[in-house]
Symmetry: C2
Amino acid sequence: MAGRPTINTVAAAAGVSRQTVSNTINSPQIVDPRTRQRVLAAIEQLNYTPSAAAAQLRTRRSRVIGLRLQPETDGINGAVLDRFLHAFTVAAQRESYRVMLFTAPDDAAEIAQYSQLVAASNVDAFLLTSTHAGDPRTAWLASQGLPFVTFGRPWTQLSEADRHAWVDVDGAAGTRLATEHLLQLGHRRIAYVGFPRSADLADERLSGWATAMADVVSAESREHLARHVCDGVDAGSRAAESLLAESEPTAFVCASDSLALGALSHVRRIGQRCAVIGFDDTPVAAAVDLASVAQPLTQAAEAAFDLVLAQLNGESPSPRQYLLTPHLALRGSGSVTPDPSTSRTESE
Amino acid sequence: MAGRPTINTVAAAAGVSRQTVSNTINSPQIVDPRTRQRVLAAIEQLNYTPSAAAAQLRTRRSRVIGLRLQPETDGINGAVLDRFLHAFTVAAQRESYRVMLFTAPDDAAEIAQYSQLVAASNVDAFLLTSTHAGDPRTAWLASQGLPFVTFGRPWTQLSEADRHAWVDVDGAAGTRLATEHLLQLGHRRIAYVGFPRSADLADERLSGWATAMADVVSAESREHLARHVCDGVDAGSRAAESLLAESEPTAFVCASDSLALGALSHVRRIGQRCAVIGFDDTPVAAAVDLASVAQPLTQAAEAAFDLVLAQLNGESPSPRQYLLTPHLALRGSGSVTPDPSTSRTESE
């Protein structure tokens, strides 16, 4: 066998197709382990080097996507972005793309990093997380003509020309799903513990609960059944305590698992029979039997990668925006029915 | 101001030192926010582009370190590697290095990825996690002369020539610390719930407990006070149940937070007064008031990055191995004293 070995030489030696050789290198997860061993043995025997460097020179692509690692918060809710990062890395690698990490304390510093990463020409595109109203990052990337996608929708109303590619999960559908489940169990006084009101996911998650509750209690009662606090376990406990004292709810829908864990700890501590549902289905929720709204993170990561890849390939995919629907991870804390002896009848 | 702007031009315009400009780009976390804004404004006004691409061409370095993302397990213990990854990314960025992620289902596939990443010349060095006895990855990297460091020691006895750079946390010191704390509280029948015995961290964590218990109970009693199970919350519950039935322990030291959470849930469910200490100080531990052995992850990540950097700079650092000592994150579950009415006296 003369000359430099190619993917075809390897395929022939291993008795598999070109695609299987490619998969063994780029997506080994999907190749049968025995087949993989055979291909790896052939690669080693022939001293085959995948021509990624040559491909990069030819296409002028680094096949690298930049992603800013979020600073850690309380370690509970951060698990969502870590899981998304895992799924995105797997999706990217299937197409021989890699994920490059960087950190930045705020939006301005993140933009400075974009600039540096592109100047060093080692990043083709960016994935952004934690979008917010008036986000300067997307405007900057668009002004530079750089390919990007956000996990999180733009919370500002954008003109048709400014609409960029994004993937997000419908938070209102999530809290609505949780609230409707509790209504079906017979709960009527269902409280909501969410974040300080703002024109982004805070108000969105609130709205799902409010919609489901609209036919059950008056707008005034809803005011008394909602709390808007900063995220955290202790804040969730205190909100539950004050809600129980003021409005006697029999169930809680919470905007995060941290808040829900606080509420759950409080009701368990005082021996009150209440249902609690959190948001994000984090490992903590599974560990303490907390029902929670679950984001389809693998689906979101795959859609986000597809949107990046389409831009890099010069395609105009349609749709360029995906709003995915969460589901309810039902566990013990979400199955508690109202106590018939103490439940107050709602006659508004 | 003629010519291409340099770091000196930016420093002069912002009224800061060269180092502050460099920090603003590479380690913005350590720069005062107002100073940072001033430097970023100067960078934008002068249209300064950091010369990373030029530096890369000059040094033939990509300034990229490859790291395989571990597949997710139960989501509780995986948090440790995610936190290490965060800290390592921050340490690397301080020296203008980046972290590139890839995935691989097993060691052989991970080695194939190394080969590809080096061939495409976009990775200078590798960071390995989850080392184990007979690890083929380190031997392969050493045979190729590629710089690398492992988070986790080699569990095989290596010859002097084969000793590579590593950073690890002393697991035996961790379980010993937990056990000695419980002994000081007056516990004597302290059980151990760990992993199936193997010549790596399973036996190491077991040994710390066994050492602390050596003067308190006989070797035979220790046998009855230890369980070796696969990691998981349910396995921890079952182990605690069987230990309570057979050996009446008043406290549990566990090799992971998953196991400890299972043990803690069991004793809380049956209303038994028992102390429980886990391992890794995960977000779940903090959330459920579980005491846990905490690894110094930031220190480990910084030491690991320093060991990589020294190799890339052609230095021979001494030491090339760091065994760091964990500490005890003390919470409610670790402060439970033995119940005087039920505690059995040990008279062996």
